[in-house]
């Protein structure tokens, strides 16, 4: 065990070194739209810059899922140019990461809020609210705070009481990026978030902001899990077919970013690690994302194991039953659970089975994982029980034990011993499997790293931290199960 930890440490240090070292390379001269011809261009999926760039066939286009991935590609030399909003990256951040804005584009793109087609009443109210804030200068002052592009925001940030009565207005965002919308602990900031808090005050209702994985926010709007979609949503003709858009609140302009060859954050490896820890974990109390995510991951894993195991025992009893119908049902269930990807099952649970209910995402995740875990655990239990020879039962019965006494006193202790290693494996793979719950807006450990990355654009440190935590959790599961097992053997 000691040895494996030793190697892990070496591996992780190697990763840190790779992540922090800046590659030296030739910097292309890029000063205008025509200069990017023949270069590798990084865009973020779903933005209008992706659409704009995909029309050009003289460049090599690479699509990324988030601004942090895009920035990282630029820094690591996987792309020559990155295209995004002029306000996405602020000056301080660019200096820290080692890239700069080369020039601004002339285009302008309208951004608005998405509403479900059937929600015309809410849309009408919002447009009326928007017209008012435009007229009384509130929107102008918000733009002045958030969109001036220097990365300096008021300190302390304005926190809205968010009181109101009645049903909360539920708002989902795909990107959690400053200065559009971002979270610091429980509160949301950024121009769109503030607009939403103000809209809530105007309506006299509380608002509830939630962050989703990019692909699931639109689905959530359609199924009614949220009422309004935000996150720098650009108005396009295709999207108009599916959603209603509010009036435009702002026109965004593209900017072209390149690697800054002169940038040198300074200091050695140790300095850069210290800087990474400060930026990713300490500033704005970002470690809270990690602890909250850890708690969520542990909760989902443990409860799924608990309920999944109980259900698995039922399945195991069915599979070993004398009734053909019960055996068939159990085997059908297993085939079904093994035949569909966990992510698909999770999405079906969230968007179909529990759609429109007020059950929390965590609860849905626990249900989905427990259902899936039951199939695996049931198989493990059955295998273990089947590996105890039939003669053991007969010997117990022949001595005068009842069926129940024979099962619990003689067969089960032997089955536990045989099945534990496989069961441990199932539990660890469940733990790892929970990293997809971010798709249904659960803020687990993996999602925590995404949220930090979306603020700091630093890929390595947040991922490194969650890697280590997952690794320790997996070891802990093995330890706990061994403890329970050794206790059961002592009885």
């Amino acid at each position: 065990m000691k040895r494996s930890y030793f190697f892990t440490t070496i591996l992780l240090s190697a990763l840190v070194t790779c992540g922090c070292s800046k590659q030296v390379g030739h910097a292309p001269e890029i000063n205008s739209v025509s200069d990017i011809s023949g270069h590798r261009v990084a865009v973020v999926t779903g933005t209008c810059y992706e659409l704009q760039m995909s029309k050009r066939d003289d460049i090599k286009l690479t699509r990324f899922n988030s601004e942090s991935d895009q920035a990282q590609a630029l820094v690591l030399g996987q792309a020559d140019v990155a295209v995004n909003d002029e306000v996405t990256f602020n000056a301080k951040m660019m200096k820290d990461l080692g890239f700069k804005m080369a020039f601004k584009g002339d285009e302008s793109y309208p951004a608005a809020f998405g509403f479900r087609k059937s929600e015309t009443e809410l849309l009408g109210s919002f447009n009326q609210f928007l017209a008012e804030v435009k007229a009384n200068g509130t929107l102008d002052s918000l733009e002045g705070v958030w969109l001036k592009g220097d990365g300096k925001y008021p300190d302390p940030l304005r926190i809205y009481p968010n009181k109101g009565t009645g049903e909360p207005i539920r708002i989902g965002t795909a990107g959690a990026t400053a200065p559009i919308s971002f979270r610091i602990q429980e509160d949301w900031f950024g121009i769109e978030s503030e607009l939403m808090y103000l809209f809530g005050e105007w309506m006299g209702r509380p608002v509830k902001l939630m962050s989703y994985a990019p692909t699931s926010v639109m689905m959530s709007l359609q199924t009614g899990d949220i009422d309004i979609m935000m996150g720098c949503v650009f108005v396009t003709e295709e999207r108009k077919e599916v959603f209603n858009f509010s009036d435009v609140y702002h026109y965004y302009h593209p900017a072209y970013f390149v690697k800054d060859m002169d940038a040198n954050a300074g200091g050695g490896l140790w300095e850069s690690i210290k800087r990474g820890v400060r930026r990713n974990l300490i500033e704005e109390g970002r470690w809270r994302f990690i602890t909250d995510g850890l708690w969520e991951t542990v909760k989902i894993t443990l409860l799924s194991i608990l309920f999944g195991s109980l259900l698995g025992m039922g399945l195991c009893a069915m599979a070993r039953s004398r009734r053909r119908a019960l055996r068939k049902t159990a085997s059908l269930y297993n085939d079904f659970m093994q035949g569909i990807p966990m992510l698909v099952l999770l999405l079906i649970m969230f968007y179909v089975v529990f759609a429109g209910t007020s059950l929390s995402s965590s609860f849905v995740a626990i249900v989905a994982f427990a259902l899936n875990f039951a199939a695996g655990a049931g198989g493990v239990f059955r295998n273990a029980l089947d590996s105890v020879p039939r003669g053991q039962t007969e010997a117990g019965l022949a001595l005068g034990f009842t069926r129940l006494q024979t099962f619990f006193g003689i067969v089960l202790p032997q089955a536990v011993k045989l099945g534990l290693p496989m069961y441990k494996g199932q539990c660890v793979s469940l733990l790892k499997g929970t990293s997809i719950v971010g798709y249904i807006a659960v803020h687990d450990l993996t999602r925590a790293s995404d949220l930090i990355r979306s603020r700091t654009f630093d890929a390595f440190l947040p991922l490194l931290v969650v890697t280590v935590i997952y690794f320790l959790l997996a070891a802990l599961i093995g330890l706990i199960l061994n403890l329970i097992f050794n206790k059961s053997r002592a009885i």
Binding site: P389, Q392, A395, L399, G400, F401
Partner: protein, 362 residues
């Protein structure tokens, strides 16, 4: 004590056809009797035994124990099983417990014995079967014979009135059969426990039993004292079974025949018919005779035979068309022949219709 009436058992095969293992079994078993159940394989001996404690459920008939019908609905069979122990072919020791715990587990849980009392009794029983030294070890470290002796001790710890032995030596290496049989012999003579033993050990059955059931075709064909069954059986099937002679035949047509294959087949024959004690003698005699004494006398027929009733093993060497004994020929290796004589009871030289035969009786 035990009364069995018109007991039958049939299975439905996967193809839908019916297979009847037991047709109509009737018997009365009194206290203290030691009954061996013998007969060809597949005639329902084990099935019958397993029905007496309902590990197998009969399709028809009645089983009465101490005046109670144990097949009636709601009969507390687990209580009967406490008085009716069973020893299995595959031992079935509890692998997750020590030898001592195997013996104390049931008395502690079922008879309400204190741990100390149960351990004292268990040690006494283990001493009786010669396994006291191994009390603390795991069953997985024991040999088959040792496992079976522990299984007997485990069974006796419940102080049973009846013990059912289901082929207790069939899964054992031939060298370990003896130790288990001697424990059972002692039990039969001293304990006064009623014993029912399904076995292929004819000599053992004959020595320890008060009665023998010969089972054939799902029936108790013949039921009688050992002397009657073995010496003057009534039914021809019984006679054929107890008098049957097992044979293994080889034709040696050249000096280059596969000697080692013959040796290995003979060794397997010895294991199969429980004459493992004679395995080495058979191997030596075969080697001396085929490789030295009769080396140039091919074609040669070699027949290894065993008679269960007479308990006699013989090796015959037959030379076709010969009129005189090869052992009288010039140039025969006298030293090898002396060794063969020393290892055998008797050497018979005889002329037959086909040729000349040298028969070595072991």
């Amino acid at each position: 004590m035990i009364s069995v009436r018109h007991l039958s058992k049939s299975y439905i095969n996967p193809d839908g056809s019916k297979f009847q293992v037991l047709k109509d079994v009737n018997c009365e078993i009194g206290p203290g009797e030691v009954i061996s159940i013998i007969g060809p394989s597949g005639t329902g001996k084990s099935t019958f035994l397993r029905m007496l404690n309902l590990l197998e459920h009969p399709s028809g008939g009645e089983i009465w124990v101490d005046g109670e019908n144990i097949l009636r609905k709601g009969y507390p069979i687990h209580k009967l099983r406490r008085k009716m122990g069973m020893v299995f072919q595959s031992f079935n020791l509890f692998e997750h417990m020590s030898v001592l715990d195997n013996v104390t587990y049931a008395p502690c849980k079922l008879l309400g014995m204190s741990r100390e009392e149960a351990e004292n009794e268990a040690m006494a029983l283990l001493r009786k079967v010669g396994m006291a030294e191994k009390a603390g070890v795991s069953p997985s470290t024991l040999s088959g014979g040792q496992k079976q002796r522990v299984a007997i001790a485990r069974c006796l710890a419940m102080k049973p009135e009846v013990v059912l032995f289901d082929e207790p030596t069939s899964a054992l290496d031939p060298t370990m059969v003896g130790e288990v049989l001697s424990v059972m012999k002692q039990l039969a003579r001293e304990s006064g426990i009623t014993m029912l033993i399904v076995t292929h050990e004819m000599k053992f059955a004959r020595d320890v039993s008060t009665r023998i059931f010969f089972m054939n075709e799902g029936l108790i064909y013949e039921d009688g004292a050992p002397s009657q069954i073995f010496e003057s059986p009534v039914h021809s099937a019984t006679k054929a079974f107890v008098q049957r002679i097992q044979k293994l035949v080889f034709d040696i047509t050249s000096a280059d025949f596969d000697f080692y294959d013959m040796q290995s087949q003979m060794a397997q024959f010895c294991v199969k018919y429980d004459i493992a004690g004679k395995r080495d003698a058979i191997a030596h005699i075969t080697e001396e005779m085929t490789q030295v004494v009769l080396r140039d006398y091919w074609p040669l027929h070699v027949v290894l035979s065993y008679s269960g009733q007479k308990e006699e093993t013989a090796l015959a060497f037959m030379m076709e068309g010969r009129e005189t004994s090869p052992l009288q020929d010039e140039g025969i290796d006298d030293i090898s022949l002396m060794m063969v004589r020393a290892m055998s009871k008797e050497i018979i030289e005889e002329k037959t219709v086909k040729g000349f035969r040298v028969k070595v009786i072991l």
